[in-house]
């Protein structure tokens, strides 16, 4: 079909133009799915003793076994996974802790949702080694999130974002962080606002700190035009070690009527209100929407798109607790997520980790979602990918978004 590329205005293009249809409606997707599931339910049930379903205490589940062998191309020694997801480092830990403290102090007692570090440990402990699988964790989160309060003057989200990037000379890893808070309102007379602060950058680990000192303890780093393999950093960026001043202002991303991004499109308050909050209807709605946006071929990208969209609903969009619970239930039904047990997130909070992989720019990237089973709220989303230092040592670069507050509030922004 190469010749088609050379002749865009040919008879096959005309056929495509005349016969293309926009894709199924959510109702058609839901109706067909219901028919299939009814058919599936009529099939005699599977043997009750399904392997991995209820593992005896102390045994490895099937999931463990598959998980341990599922990371293609990874040659890291055992235990490296723990290191890959280690907190961003000593130098910054102080900065972050101070920032977290400051934020906690400015947080009034009736804050909608507290996700403060001191909540660590309140998550229900997993008894023994019979740890829950990804599906159980997500279903528990669905139940927990359904009980949240809904409604308030503002939808407020406060996040800490961070990146682990290689220094321009590739001799050590730099960790940097920022914080950002957004206040979205649908009430007249109130204004969408944002506030944020650059929290600074520094060597990520003691070993990185030694390499940084050996390089003369630079306070700024100028990046080249080609940042391939360095991690998530803008070409020609100037990265500064010192924290910036607090900044704030009206929130303008053109989303007075567009309060989030759902399956690539800006979504407004009105549209958010029409999203079905029943899991089956929501799934059909999202499948139809993704199919329309992606044209002829979606294929196995569908689960990745569904997962991404459900995470958007759960962690970013001002929607009802029921809708977020429905999104968790869809996540629970998707293949590809593995429970990693209890971990510490980049802000030092304890939660349950779920890992999965995504294809990004043609390369596999590891993702980790940390959720607090007690509240059903996401604590952090992390990405990680392999990188190589100048000396040839393997290391990891990546980024994270840690959620400090997600929810409705009647407070006013103080900036």
């Amino acid at each position: 079909m190469d010749e088609r590329n050379g002749h865009p205005a040919d008879e096959l293009d005309a056929v495509r133009a005349v016969f293309s249809r926009p894709g199924p409606s959510p109702e058609a997707v839901a109706a067909g799915r219901d028919r299939l599931l009814a058919e599936a339910a009529a099939v005699p049930t599977a043997p009750p003793e399904r392997p991995g379903r209820r593992p005896a205490a102390g045994t490895r589940t099937r999931e463990d076994a598959v998980a341990s062998g599922r990371w293609p191309g990874r040659r890291d020694p055992a235990g490296s996974r723990v290191r890959r997801w280690a907190p961003a480092g000593r130098g910054l830990a102080g900065v972050a802790a101070a920032a977290a403290l400051a934020l906690a102090m400015t947080l009034p007692s009736d804050a909608p949702i507290r996700l403060a570090p001191d909540q660590a440990g309140t998550a229900p402990a997993t008894p023994g080694s019979d740890r829950p699988d990804a599906r159980q964790i997500l279903l528990a989160a669905a139940s927990a999130t359904a009980g949240e309060p809904a409604g308030g003057a503002y939808w407020r989200t406060r996040v800490v974002t961070g990146q682990r990037i290689l220094s321009p000379d590739r001799r050590y890893v730099i960790a940097r962080r920022s914080t950002r808070e957004t206040w979205l309102t649908r009430q007249d007379g109130r204004q969408d606002r944002w506030a944020g602060r650059y929290l600074g950058a520094g060597p990520a680990t003691p070993r990185d700190e030694a390499a940084w000192r050996a390089a003369g303890s630079p306070g700024t780093w100028r990046y080249p035009a080609d940042v391939t393999g360095l991690g998530r950093v803008t070409p020609e960026a100037l990265v500064e070690a010192a924290p910036g001043e607090p900044r704030s202002g009206p929130h303008r991303v053109g989303w007075r009527d567009a309060d989030g991004i759902l399956t690539k499109q800006l979504t407004g308050w009105k549209a958010l209100g029409t999203i079905p909050d029943d899991p089956a209807r929501l799934r059909a709605y999202l499948v139809a929407r993704i199919a329309r946006e992606n044209g002829a071929y979606v294929g196995r990208e569908m689960e990745a798109e569904l997962r991404k969209t459900c995470l958007e609903i759960i962690s970013r969009l001002p929607v009802s607790p029921e809708l977020r619970a429905a999104a968790y239930r869809i996540l629970a039904s998707l293949p590809g997520m593995t429970a990693e047990g209890q971990v510490t997130d980049p802000l030092g909070r304890t939660g349950q980790a779920l890992t999965y992989q995504v294809v990004e720019d043609g390369r596999l990237s590891d993702r980790r979602l940390v959720i607090d089973p007690a509240s059903g709220l996401p604590l952090a989303e992390e990405t990680s990918s392999a990188a190589t230092l100048a000396g040839g040592q393997d290391t990891q670069v990546g980024s994270f978004v840690a959620f400090e507050a997600i929810g409705w509030t009647d407070e006013e922004p103080m900036h």
Binding site: A9, V18, F19, E39, Y297, R300, M302
Partner: protein, 198 residues
Amino acid sequence: MAAPPDAPVAADDAALIERSWHDPDSFAVLYDRYFGEIHRYVAARLGTHLADDLAAETFLVAFRKRRTFDPARGAVRPWLYGIATNLVADHRRRETRGLEALQRAPAGEVTDGGHEERVTARVTAASVQGRLAAAIRRLSPGDRDVLFLVVLAELSYEEVAQTLGIPFGTVGSRLNRVRRKLRRGLGGVNPMIGGSDG
């Protein structure tokens, strides 16, 4: 919602079918992956309204036949298109009537009993649409299958061969023949000229 059980890895299509032997609900993952494009393909041939039913029917048939799927003979996607194409064949007369209607209708005003259809503004000349529909109506069913599988489903020749159970080389020769006939049917009219956005 019936959720498939814990699934640690993104199972590929064929593995999903095998899993659905003992875990029927996991077939729904295939539904989500392919319902949209199967619907689009059927809708191009029979209209949106009938596509709602036949695309769903495609997955019911596939589910019932899931134990007969043989990965050695091709991938899941062409297998699904093969089932959909068989279902389309049961509605040959409906397809012909639709093409006749398209032949007569002014461009951009074609409806098929479903919701509003968008016919791209690039092909506005009614004569192009009508001539195209007439030429497609005159194609043999097998040629028409190849045309729609290549153009609307965007299948490769290899996948079309698997879908229709015909040799690889036949796909190319059928498509060449189809293109000749369509060009002749268009009578030298450049199909993309004369549109409102030029």
